[in-house]
Amino acid sequence: MNVLNLALNDLKQTAANKVTLALLLVLPVLMISLLGYAMKPLFQPEKDLKKFPVLYSNPDSGPVGRSLDSFLSSQAGNLVELVPVEAGTLESQVLDGKYPVGISVPPDLSQAVSQGKQTRVEVISSGRDQVKDKIVRALVDSFAANINTQTALAQGYRNYLPQAQASAAANLAGQNLARVQSSFGTDFVSVLDSKPALDTFQFFAATMLVFFLLTTGMGVGTGIITERTSGVMTRINACPVKQSEYLLGKILSNLAIALVQATSVILFSQYAFQVNWGSSPLALLLILTPVIFISSALGIIIASILSSAKALTSILSVIFWCMTFVSGGFAPVPILEPVARFTVNKWAFNSLSAMMAGGSLADITGNLAALFAVALILWLGAVMLYQRRVSA
């Protein structure tokens, strides 16, 4: 009962402060709108396509390999600029964001094609530029189709004399083509994100939701410091209230405030920008809950270390803004991608965007596990530091 009393009291205080309440609800939707419109050009494909670099690894010195070299550098030379690279480093360079896409040819391509065996050329993509991905895929697909056709014809005519009936030859060629056309194909591999690209409002609705949910932890932290400095905490502790009840009251009120904020963001973005948040409210709740727990745990940790509410707000602001920036929450920053993968924002954003793209709970289990693990660790730290501060 004490937990509920403490939580309701916090909510009463928030409701009593009309300005804070308004900011809590208006600021996220304002940021989504502003960033959504301002950053729109960044999310639109280039209208005039310029020649772009493509990582290229081709260890096959046979006729098919040489033919691919020639095809890409001559016929496709006005579209792509081949950057030769060792096969082993191609994927990591795409992953680092240096190049949008790469082509990896197997060393036995010619041999496999001549023997009619299965073989694949890989198109490795960062998933950031779908237009460039599609161009490279189309080029490789077109080359593969051409080679498959030639192979089918060669196999068909091998058993016939030149004077053979054209219709029979053509018929057989058709049958062979049907058989071999799948023998040499293209594999499309996206190393970062295989989901459909999000539009600007979907992107910022997801990143801003995570950012603003994280900032709710500041309310928890400043609440604790204010109650400690004003003597209210002493008075509460002199009542028959356990420390665990006090902390649970804080997390409960923060959870309620954050969920109201999240609901307002979701409904507004759905209505105003047709943002699709997926079909599973449970999945959304599972994504957002650990984020809220992480934010409140951070608030308690900093409040247990510092004595000034202003200092707490400054430090947490820096942490949350940096994390959001590094994770690409304000605008994608490819160069920071390796670091971004270890941020709370990225895990939450990846989960939300997977749900937006029609994914299911199974698609986000890894990110959810990371979020819940961080929430648990931070909460253990928060409880320990809080108890130490109170008993000091």
């Binding site: 004003s230 002493t234 002199a238 009542c239």
Partner: protein, 309 residues
């Protein structure tokens, strides 16, 4: 009602409370008197279970605070030194919140909140928020928050700091009334007049040690060989003060406006020397009185320093 035995509390290398033992009986108004930093608040924090003693035993209403902290807290009402209120909630909400934490519910809760506000003289201010209140009103609301659940023991930590005389009198009168209604009161202050006015027994605390304990009369008897000479003058100057302090038998001398207050065990012997110094410094004397030693004198005698040092 409250029993402390050999209680020791350290903060790092500083001893905040040094082997204190005392008993407070049911129905008493017990005063902790001492200067700032003497250990009064530490003693209160220990009794309220806000900090744990490093050594010793504390029992409240027969319960050991180590083993029954929540049960002990149900019997207490704390009025902290700070105005510990939610500034943006109404007076009613403030009192109601703490009463709920103490376990009150339903119609009893509403009845007691209303009573507490009335007791504090804030019955018509229930919908007002503390940030719009005067200092005295905030202090009274601070008390109302501690008494709504009718605790057996009310602990007041310097409840009259920084308020006007009218509000101070209201609070002192409230303390007497609460005591008449059956609550045991522990009252800390560094204003010796307050302690003299309302406390039935007083513990004088300094540097974490309980230097004296007893009723006002018992404490005065500790220094009954000391007398206080009060000389009212017309044009007191400070050069004579140093000369008087230098006299033998003078324990302390200080000015209070145009009055000179001298503490000495041999008033008759040195009075002539004092008058001679005043005459030499051309200070005209209007009146001379010999007064009984007060708690300030007791504290000075026991600790060698003044309460407000």
């Amino acid at each position: 009602m409250i029993r402390l035995r050999q209680v020791l509390k350290r903060y790092g290398s500083t001893i905040a409370l040094d082997n204190i033992s005392l008993d407070v009986s049911a129905g008493e108004i017990f005063g902790f008197l001492g200067p700032n930093g003497a250990g009064k608040s530490t003693a209160i924090n220990l009794i309220c279970g806000l900090v744990k003693p490093d050594q010793g035993e504390i029992r409240v209403d027969g319960l050991d605070i180590r083993h029954n902290p929540l049960e002990v807290k149900r019997r207490l009402g704390l009025v902290p030194q700070e105005i510990a209120l939610f500034d943006n909630l109404t007076a009613w909400d403030n009192v109601e919140f703490f009463a709920k934490l103490a376990g009150l519910r339903g119609s009893l809760l509403r009845e007691r909140v209303s009573e507490a506000l009335e007791f504090a003289g804030l019955a018509d201010k229930g919908k007002g928020v503390p940030r719009g209140f005067s200092g005295g009103m905030k202090r009274r609301l601070n008390i109302a928050c501690a008494i709504a659940h009718r605790p057996k023991i009310i602990i007041m930590d310097e409840p009259t700091v920084g308020i006007d005389p009218q509000s101070r009198n209201h609070i002192l009168e409230s303390v007497r009334q609460l005591n008449k209604l059956g609550s045991t009161i522990i009252y800390t202050t560094h204003y010796m007049e307050e302690a003299e006015e309302i406390c039935s027994r007083i513990g004088i605390i300094d540097h974490g040690r309980l230097v004296a304990l007893g009723s006002k009369e018992e404490l005065r008897r500790l220094v009954n060989e000391t007398e206080k000479i009060v000389i009212e003058t017309v044009d007191l100057n400070f050069t004579c003060l140093e000369q008087i302090k230098a006299l033998g038998w003078v324990k302390d001398a200080q000015t209070n406006g145009q009055s000179l207050e001298i503490l000495t065990p041999h008033a008759q012997t040195i009075l002539q020397d004092i008058l001679f110094i005043l005459q030499r410094n051309q200070v005209k004397v209007r009146n001379i009185t010999l007064v009984e030693p007060d708690l300030e004198s007791v504290f000075l005698t026991l600790t060698g320093r003044k309460l407000r040092d």
